[in-house]
Symmetry: C2
Subunit: 207 residues, 2 copies
Amino acid sequence: MATRIVEPEAGPRSKRAAILAAAVDCFGETSFEATKWSTVAERVGIGQTALYHYFESKTHCLLTIMRLELQRSHDKFTEATEDVEDPTEALRAAVRAAYEVSDHEVLQMRILHNHMDLLSGPRKSKREEAERVEARKLVQLVERDWTNLLVRGMSMGVFPLRDAQLLGASVLGLIVSVWRWYRPSGPTPLAEVSELIEGACVRMVAT
Amino acid sequence: MATRIVEPEAGPRSKRAAILAAAVDCFGETSFEATKWSTVAERVGIGQTALYHYFESKTHCLLTIMRLELQRSHDKFTEATEDVEDPTEALRAAVRAAYEVSDHEVLQMRILHNHMDLLSGPRKSKREEAERVEARKLVQLVERDWTNLLVRGMSMGVFPLRDAQLLGASVLGLIVSVWRWYRPSGPTPLAEVSELIEGACVRMVAT
DNA sequence: GACGGAAATTGAACTGAACTCAGGTTGATC
DNA sequence: GATCAACCTGAGTTCAGTTCAATTTCCGTC
């Protein structure tokens, strides 16, 4: 069924994880386009060409970061909602879970949502395309997560009947729109954002 | 006060408008990164180098498109809301206005919101930086448009008191999140989207 | 403790798209 | 029909991403 990409099992001296971490920092702070691939190499402490042992291209690395973040988001959603029967409470839990993130994950979110458009068109190389397809699947999974939650609420009569797909996409859109502007160093603490959005989402789907 | 960039007055044989139009088509359909600057030239019917008579760089062209779109959005908001005293009705009118767009404007919206991150960091060249600064100002203007609308409603007692800035950003985020996925050729008509989002926004800010 | 082989790394060379430069055309105005 | 600015071009430069051919490192095995 859901065929997760097998993470290349890390040999003991693999720098894959280090590269991903460095790339997240660079891409998240400086932006993907503006950071030189060679800078990532420097930060890890290897030559530029060594990067190609782990990733087919700069974009392949980006797509991998995006896929991993999507996987995390989906897992977190599932974990937060699976034991909650009341739809409103489940919705609240899902929103809160979406904002329970480390600073590093904030960067990953920013990277992910700033490059969503990459997932629409096909890629030329094999491994890039594999990551892209997998990421697209995960996007649809996450969308279904939210939609299903709403459908459940509607069929239980807790939420008024509306186009669940459209409303689900909207709720999700509202939640992730935060990653455009939120900065850990900024004036608004994430807890405050979380609280306001949680309320907004509940009102959106409720009467 | 608000110093609009003076649009270079078009000489009779200027191709600036044609370049902008072609660029919107290319960037909107193929994405900015993936479209070759020379393709835009071809589509207009000039050599690549002629582009540099009108724009300092590919990015300068992109920033111009973004600024123009922001200007349009702000003007449309103002026009739609200026004569409406009731805050709820004004909010409804503003949302509807946001979705009263041509197919070409849909592309501009997509381009704008896919490259918002460009506006955060400074640019190296003069004219790029000028466009960037102006665009940033317009972003803040638009944010203030929505926030002020909420503040008015709150002070009139129509909307419950909440962090207007945060809520304004959220409403705006919800509205523009649509441009990520909406396609004129897709299954969902924009009118339907507009209606659902209008309701969602009203519920978000209301009791 | 030499040996084979996979994983990891490298310097030098290549590519292609954005951009520069130095000059050439066009056409409105006097 | 001279002038001047707007407009355009072909030939070359740059630079980040990428490829290539070859080497080093490390681990298990004989």
